[in-house]
Amino acid sequence: MMLRRASLRYHLRQPWQAALAVLGVALGVAVVVAVQLANTSAERAFQRSAEALQGEATHRVSAGTAGLDEALYTELRRAGIRPCAPVVAGYVNAPGGDPLRLLGVDPWAELGVRDAVASAALEVDAGRWLSRGGMAVLFKPEAERLGLGAGDLLPVEAGGRRHELEVAAVADPPDELTAEGLRNTVVVDLATAQAVLGRLGRLDRIDLVIPDGEAGAAVLEQVKARLPEGAVLKEAGEGAAALDEMTAAFRLNLTAFSLLALLVGALLIYNAVSFSVVQRRPLLGRLRALGVARGQLFRGIVAEGVLLGTLGTLAGLPLGFALADLLLDLVTRTISDLYFVLSVRSVTPAPGVLAMAAALGVLVSGVASAGPAWEAATVSPRTALERASLEAKARRLAGPLGIAGLALGGLGAALLWGYGGGIVAGFAGIFALLVGAALIVPWAVRQLAVALARPAGALVGTPGRMAARGVASGLSRSGVAAVALVVAVTAVIGVSVMIDSFRTSLTTWLDSTLSADIYVRAPAQTGETPPPLPEGLAAELAAVPGVTGVGTSRRLRAPSEYGEIRLRAFDHGPEGDAGIVYKDRTAQAWADYRAGEAVYITEPFAAHHGLAVGDTVAFRTPEGERRMPVAAVVRDYATSQGAVYVSRTFYAESWGDGVINGVAVYAEPGADLEALIGALRQAAQGQGQALQFRSDAEIRARSLAVFDRTFAVTRVLQLLAAIVAAAGVFGALLALALERTGEVAVLRALGLTPWQVWGLELSRTGLLGLMAGVLAVPPGLLLAAALTGVINERAFGWSLQLSVDPALLAKAVALAAVAALVAGLYPAYRAARVAPAEAMREDG
């Protein structure tokens, strides 16, 4: 009781510290909550949509981008295999560029597979549905969002062609799953979908409902017996699981960053609690002398920390919710940019996430206050009364802590660069590295400060020396501030250097890959194969004056021994393999590849499937299985899923179609590209398909824009961690200023003007910030190396060239110094205002 009252009285007198600790935890918890909510909302939206689209289907037959011959459906039906439903689906753009999923179905086949879709489509008069093109059904939420009602026209654009759909009916979604899962979806007849998406004669998949057990196994055998070459039968959930997995690494990255913010928040709690312990050492000593047990004291102090943490957590939860809205937008956009079209409209409250974050916030606060509490409990009643003992202890501890830090850092490095491990081991290594670095900081600050005292004195006289000495002597408090700052700046350096390295690698790759001058393709959504280009387009473009040659590309997803993989079939233009950046290859790789006797794989593909030059990849082509040797591993940052390059020769042999998705145009040196694009457009007119003509520079700029968008979310998180750290520095400096009121009073009494005190205090904080910045450079670089070399490779399969821009490091160090200076303004102002007599009396 006495303890609690004492505690309350103390915190009421020192509201700043408590408020900062609460703020730190609040921010940390908010970031965790926001990231987790954004992640779960995105994942849930994706799952819901996958579930609603899957319906009752247990299996599906598909054949990659090439699709299935629609005759297969008739064959299955006439063999009595049902329920089975044909699907042609893809994305179209509504006015304003809003992507809508066009779901082409046969309403009667949907019965028993996706009843919600069946009943929606069957709301339309069968005569109109079947005999007229463009009949579409929207579910109510979507219709309302688009502001459309029955009878309205819905113009859409797909693959560069415009089509007019008519809203034939607006259906009430029968349940929540449908409402959520089928948002963004327009249900049309298969015939309409084929025409709009340019998939005449083909089906994207056939969904099957097959019972478990023997009867089902027999049906599966029947289906398998009828599968044409190149078609595969798989369980319905597999595709969704693969897509989910695709973004898992991305989501894990975000989680790791959110935990970093919480870690910094924990340092603030530690700071506040340990400051309160320092402040109350006389009191605590008296309490011990009065017979309060150590355990009691320990529990009391921990309870204080937990209380602060709980308050912070309570404030952090709603804050996290608000922040999640912002993050969700960034996360969704990134997934849509990189992986597939994902539409998430709102944050889904997930009680599990909130409970987890709350528990984490309270737990971390408890753990963070345990150290100071232990210290408070273990000092003997006598030494507690001696003010100098704490500093002595901090000095004593700095060395062992530093050694522990080195050991932990070493463990982190081992996790990162030792034996191969998963991405989770990678992140564990990073955290070990960070905490290790944090533990070394107090010792390093002290050494640096002592070392700096003489040069600083030489430079600016006594105040300089005093500032440096002050940093060293106030280690028990400034140490924590320095740690918080170092951790934050380390993260800033690590992440910035990683992003910069990634960007540099990407730029280098783009520069070598974009060897042609103009690229032509039809518009398409992310993750979707661009629609085929008109036949003969390449030849027409090649004939345009000023064009020296053309290359073509075909992008598709095709079944292989590794499931559905991304395939790129190139007819390389006049420059051969000049546009390919090799990582590893056989001596005659290019010749073999060009002759259709070998394939190239991209780096991520090699990483995901554990393949290297000399291994083979088997494709399930319409001509049967083709097993091909890998002649080269090439760099390619286009997809983290990886892809296989094949030559046009091999593609033509195995897939037997002349489809192309892109044309690369090579121009005469020095040609006016704008004018040439005009001429190419002219030549391509009359095809009735809107095409995109982009110069290499434009593609480069667009790719980098996507890249920057991708890392926007990372930058936001990094910024939040830095804000938490700045709050920590502010708190620590404020504590220090209060602590040193007596000392300042003596200085004032000795004749220092308030301005001189101000200057002294600011130089001290500036110096602290500067040192933290400098100290953050080595761990920051290590972190950057870990992120670029280890995490990226484990998460995405890319190896990136670590490139360090000194200006970037200088900026980070400056950031630390400025943050410390800004945070030190108010504490310095307070110190300068100290009235000497009063302060000395209090001190006495």
């Binding site: 629609e70 008739t74 006439r78 005569g127 005999s131 084929q194």
Partner: protein, 350 residues
Amino acid sequence: MSVAEALSGEPEAAGYARAEGPQPFSFPRDHGAHPDYRHEWWYVTGNLEGDDGRHFGFQVTFFRFALAPEPLQRTSAWATRQLWMAHFTVTDTAGETFHHFQRFARGALGLAGAEADPARVWLEDWALSGAPGAGLDRLHAEAEAQGVGIDLELSAAKPIVRQGDRGYSRKGEAPGNASYYYSVPRLTAEGRITLPDGEHAVEGSAWIDREWGTSALGEDQSGWDWFSVQLDDGRELMFYHLRQADGGTDPRSEGAWIDASGEKRRLSSDEVELEVLERWTSPDGEATYPARWRLRYPAEGLELELEPTLADQELRGGFRYWEGAIRGEGTVQGSPVRAVGYAELTGYAE
């Protein structure tokens, strides 16, 4: 679109071919589809008996509905103006179970359709198929759904009968409110019936109706009662009553009497007297149907009492109607006679 709508004579019929007068059939061509008429059906019903005397009824009907009068000018093979529907039922009289199934398929990609020679009509794996050059003389009927199936060989025991006026069957006042209609009034049936409780070897007799037109019912007609009756003395009786909205019977209702040699006599509506003796209400109370009749055909001295082999033979799908096996006992010119047949009762549901 509801099926009832497709069969009614509302104005959307404009542009379709219409049955406007007698015209000679041309076989085998007319066994195939007539895509320019709005509706058409291939209709097989029959009464079968297992080795142990267990009675079964079956129905397999393929309906074709044209949804637009003109062929479509569209690129996708899935676009079509023909929608097919098929009904398949098995009446398990002893087991007191009526199994009924309905399927739809578009008339595209070979999912459903009809061909003239060899005669064949199918919807996915339900099919009625003949042999080259054999018309409807020898047919194989097969259908299966959820463990219920039939697999029957049908052989015509009588020649084709042209119903109405040389196959032109007037249904209403308006000229075109008519259909082309022919039947095979008796086929022997032999094969297997599969039920959830196992397979049964069966034999019996079947009836085939072929009909196509553009609008069948007039505005004032509410439905029809149709009967096919096969007497055990080798003769058949078909007749239908078109019921008027006011409860009366349309005078255009008619029928046919077919003697043992296959000669048909056309019957006008007043030549067959039908008295309802009992009624039956479907379990959900949505419709009440006649369920036992006394039938008199004085010209031939025929008096029969007809009753369903099972009360509940109602198809409760999108298009609700009662279609089931019936049996009868009575006298013809004083001698005892037995009969089996099928009845179709439409327009009773709200």
